[in-house]
């Protein structure tokens, strides 16, 4: 295990201690214990910079399940490092912010920080795993931990709704992605991304290529909230603001972007990749920006804006894949799209993070996020105003901030799309720059709404719950740091070029580089009076006109129903599934355990007997049968007698004791066959289960008299005879029909040499089949928690009544 693995797992492992610290040091905000983790990790990841800048990557491997090709391979290359720095850097700022945002005596901080650390570790795992199965595990952990974070205020209906929605949609995508991963494995026989890239050409001609591509993209699109899956992101805003700033702007939603970037070398050569990624991205960009203008809640505007900006980055990555079609690096005009994608990724994290934090501050200090109630806050909150205006101007793409530069490059890339002679793009490709331009106008409008509706205009104290004042220092540190980055990257864009952007590009477009080559990234602040500049001027002019006349044309949104068709579709889908499964369940779940047993046993008899006779599988061979002794006969008679007695027992107590007697007799069989372990286990289990029955005894109603009904007795008799017959037949058949040599010989030979134990049963349990045991005790633990929760919930409810 290397330090790299430790770094990935550190947040997960350390999260165990948070509840402990929270209990012991009640007077200290739990966030202070969490804060060092992302800071240390950030510094640690910075040390990789010199390596990745030289175009090298670091790979560390742990064997996890080597026999299945599942290895925990951690790989740091340009792309992975960029994301790792974002996750830990923004993570540190968010934790710092949350310390002041979440009150220590009101909130369940122990929950919050455990979820947050789980998320951080999962996210690091996603971006630094080279093995796809391991990455998939971390990927689902991000869905899971974000579910917990969105539902953090779980007593609110909306939080639960949002959490469920995000979980269902992202997990659906995750499963699709797993399908894609398996298809890739079928094609290549490897789970390693590095090896997949080296086999890219072979995959391209495989029949499974297109299904795999679609599956992987489904995973990326659901995670990165692309159209039509974006509907979960606005609802996810029910999470506390630090979470929104972290998950829904800087990290989790970018996992899809990461996935697309990571798989570009594998799939990018195909036309379908360009088509799907670019057009879905552009569509999301336009759609998100138009609907952001409609929103009145600060966080809702930001949510739709995030959707739209993610679409922008996505479309850039799609356009950048076109670079793979051209051999020569120097004249390749499409690499600019990839540069813009990475640059905007970083920029978006800085300005959107600061804007979310500012929205949180406004909510914290005024008690509302509704722009119809806000206004004129500039004088009360000058620092928040300054950070917001810088963030919003950067988002709108205004100079001199970093958003301006990446938006100019975005225009450049979109204009280049029309020049592509590959896929008939010279005819209909004009759509791309036009749509990009329209979306940018709306982006400008909502950015202006965001800052001017809140901070200028009329101050309406009667609509606010609190008297607004500037936030405390602690809340301001993080947004101020982010905003300074916005300015620094704006004035010195090439600060990032060599250190982060060029290495990340080398990971996305490796086939374009020869040995020792690297991408020459130069982002110029002033690029002359070209078409992009005129597009920007147009954005500003039309944007100002639209913003000024905003109140007049906003009415057209009334034509759009409050709940959009997609959301209605989602809701009716969920409701439909629920009502159908409810009806289905109603038909067989009638509350009587007897009926369930009838179904289970009837199913068992029918299926097994049908297979046994349909496949003519029954064989009976007496050549290998050992002799039957007196003891066996005696014990069999005892078991049979005991079982028959249960049928005639009149009280429940008698049946339980008789059942125990049958169990004890069975354990005597084990003694006879020299299996002391089994005998011991059976004895103890019988004892405990009889005791458990006795405990339950008080709660059960008196034994009801079904027995008088003839039909009832007939079904019971049929089922019991049927089960007995089928089990006997299978046992005989299994004994006479040995298709494979018995595995027991392997254990006899290896128990002592491999595991140094003499007790084969125990060695199998803890060593040879230890993974089974591990999961079995996990299942047991979950079952016991289930019983605990079920019964205690009922108790509490009864108390409330």
């Amino acid at each position: 295990m290397s330090s790299l693995h430790l770094a990935i797992l550190a947040p997960l492992v350390l999260s165990i201690f948070i509840p402990l610290f929270y209990r012991i040091f009640r007077h200290i905000h739990a966030g202070w214990f969490v804060l060092p983790i992302p800071i240390v990790l950030f510094v640690y990841f910075l040390t990789f910079l010199p390596e990745t800048m030289r175009g090298r990557s670091l790979i560390e491997m742990i064997n996890w399940i080597p026999s299945l090709g599942i290895k925990f391979t951690a790989k740091v290359d340009g792309l992975g490092l960029l994301f790792a720095l974002l996750i830990t850097g923004i993570g540190a700022l968010v934790v710092l912010y949350s310390i002041y945002y979440l009150a220590k005596n009101k909130e369940k901080l122990n929950h919050f920080y455990v979820y947050l650390l789980l998320f951080m570790g999962a996210m690091l795992g996603v971006v630094l795993s080279d093995n796809l199965i391991v990455m998939y595990g971390f990927w689902e952990l991000t869905s899971f931990s974000s579910f917990l974070l969105i539902g953090y205020w779980y007593e609110r209906d909306k939080s639960r709704y949002g959490a469920q929605k995000s979980m269902l949609i992202t997990v659906f995508g995750g499963l699709a992605m797993l399908g894609g991963i398996i298809l890739l494995y079928i094609m290549t026989g490897t789970f390693s991304v590095t090896e997949l890239i080296s086999q890219a050409n072979a995959i391209l001609n495989n029949a499974l290529f297109v299904p795999a591509l679609v599956c992987i993209l489904l995973g990326a699109f659901t995670k990165s909230a692309q159209f039509p899956f974006y509907i979960w992101l606005p609802d996810a805003m029910e999470a506390p603001t630090p979470v929104s700033a972290y998950l829904h702007s800087a990290t989790m939603v970018k996992a899809g972007i990461y996935l697309v970037a990571r798989f570009t070398p594998v799939f990018g050569e195909h036309f379908l990749w360009f088509l799907l990624v670019t057009s879905v991205g552009i569509l999301t960009l336009v759609w998100g920006s138009i609907f952001a203008v409609k929103q009145t809640d600060l966080k809702a505007i930001l949510a739709f804006s995030t959707v739209s900006q993610l679409g922008l980055i996505m479309s850039l990555l799609g356009a950048g894949a076109a670079a793979l079609h051209y051999e020569f690096l120097d004249e390749n005009i499409y690499t600019v799209a990839v540069t813009a994608a990475i640059f905007h990724l970083v920029n978006h994290a800085t300005f959107k993070g600061s804007l979310f934090m500012a929205a949180g501050i406004i909510d914290h200090e005024t008690g509302t996020r509704d722009i119809r109630k806000l206004g004129g806050l500039m004088h009360f909150m000058p620092i928040t105003f300054t950070t917001s205006i810088i963030g919003a101007f950067s988002m709108a793409g205004l100079p001199p901030f970093n958003g301006f530069l990446s938006k100019e490059m975005f225009f450049t890339a979109m204009v280049h799309v029309t020049e592509m002679d590959l896929f008939n793009l010279n005819t209909w490709g004009i759509l791309f720059p036009v749509l990009a331009w329209i979306a940018s106008i709306f982006t400008f409008v909502y950015s202006m709404i965001l800052v001017f509706k809140t901070f200028t205009g009329k101050y309406q104290p009667d609509k606010l719950d609190k008297t607004p004042h500037e936030a405390p220092m602690g809340l301001l540190i993080s947004p101020v740091i982010l905003v300074s980055l916005v300015i620094i990257f704006g004035f010195f864009p090439n600060l990032l070029s060599d250190s982060l952007i060029s290495p990340a590009m080398a990971s996305i477009l490796p086939s374009l580089l020869g040995a020792g080559e690297e991408f020459m990234v130069h982002i110029s602040f002033w690029h002359g009076p070209n078409i992009e500049l005129f597009m920007t001027l147009g954005v500003i002019i039309f944007g100002i006109i639209l913003f000024k006349t905003h109140s007049r044309w906003k009415r057209i949104y009334k034509a759009v129903p409050e709940k959009q068709a997609l959301n209605r579709f989602y809701d009716s889908l969920i409701e439909g599934i629920q009502s159908v499964s409810y009806k289905l369940t109603k038909t067989y779940m009638n509350g009587s355990i007897r009926s369930y047993l009838v179904y289970i046993f009837a199913f068992f008899i029918v299926i097994l007997a049908a297979i046994l006779f349909g496949k003519n599988a029954f064989t009976f061979d007496t050549s290998n049968v050992s002799a039957i002794g007196v003891y066996e006969v005696a014990l069999t008679i005892l078991v049979v007698l005991g079982s028959i007695c249960i049928l005639f027992a009149k009280s429940r107590m008698t049946s339980i004791i008789l059942l125990g007697a049958v169990g004890y007799t069975v354990s005597l069989f084990y003694v006879l066959f020299r299996a002391p372990d089994l005998a011991l286990t059976q004895l103890v289990i019988e004892t405990i289960s009889v005791a458990l029955f006795l405990v339950c005894f008080y709660h059960l109603p008196k034994l009801r008299r079904f027995e008088t009904r003839m039909r009832f007795r007939l079904t019971n008799a049929l089922i019991s005879v049927g089960v007995g017959a089928v089990v006997t037949l299978i046992a005989l058949s299994a004994h006479s029909n040995k298709l494979f040599p018995s595995i027991s010989q392997y254990y006899v030979e290896n128990t002592f040499t491999e595991a140094a134990g003499k007790n084969m049963v125990n060695v199998i349990l803890v060593d040879f089949r230890g993974f089974d045991t591990l999961f079995e005790i996990t299942v047991l633990a979950i079952a016991s928690l289930g019983i605990y929760g079920m019964i205690n919930l009922r108790l509490n409810r009864r108390k409330e009544e």
């Binding site: 295990m1 693995h5 165990i16 742990i62 064997n63 996890w64 399940i65 080597p66 925990f72 002391p676 372990d677 011991l680 286990t681 103890v684 289990i685 004892t687 405990i688 005791a691 458990l692 006795l694 405990v695 339950c696 008080y698 709660h699 595991a755 140094a756 134990g757 003499k758 007790n759 049963v761 125990n762 060695v763 349990l765 803890v766 060593d767 230890g770 993974f771 045991t773 591990l774 005790i777 996990t778 047991l780 633990a781 079952a783 016991s784 928690l785 019983i787 605990y788 019964i791 205690n792 009922r794 108790l795």
Partner: protein
């Protein structure tokens, strides 16, 4: 559970409990070589506590042994997972066990296995799970 008045059982249990628990610990430690192991040992310990529950009532036993069995289950799981993941620290696949002979003063030759730690996890989980279930159902009146 209703309080019963059973003097013989109440007197006997005080001595018996000690022996049963001791035996279950023996069974657990002997597991790698002779019949036994974490599963049976755990069940036996749980059996001993159940015997105590039957003799006295749940409240008395809870006061006598204020153990949160859910936390015990969690500790057990941590032991099992920790031992399994511990092998990764030594660059060997997940769940690879190590063993070796150690010479200790007074005790002499002793064979130590990481499998025992894993088994200890199983032991805790079994005790925790069984007692959680029995206690929850028993308390529900």
């Amino acid at each position: 559970m209703r309080k019963t008045n059973n003097l013989i059982l109440e007197t006997a249990i005080k001595v018996l409990l000690f022996f049963i628990v001791l035996y279950s610990v023996y069974i657990f430690t002997a597991g790698h070589y002779y019949p036994g192991g974490g599963f049976i040992g755990g069940l036996m310990t749980a059996g001993a506590i159940v015997l105590l529950l039957i003799t006295y009532d749940i409240k008395t036993v809870e006061e006598l042994m204020p153990v949160n069995y859910r936390i015990l289950t969690a500790i057990g799981l941590l032991f099992a997972i920790g031992t399994s993941a511990g092998s990764l620290l030594f660059d060997v696949p997940f769940l690879t066990h190590a063993f070796g002979d150690v010479h200790l003063p007074l005790l002499g030759e002793l064979s130590l296995h990481t499998a025992t730690l894993f088994d200890l996890g199983v032991y805790f989980v079994v005790v925790g799970v069984t007692m959680t279930i029995i206690q929850t159902i028993g308390e529900d009146e």
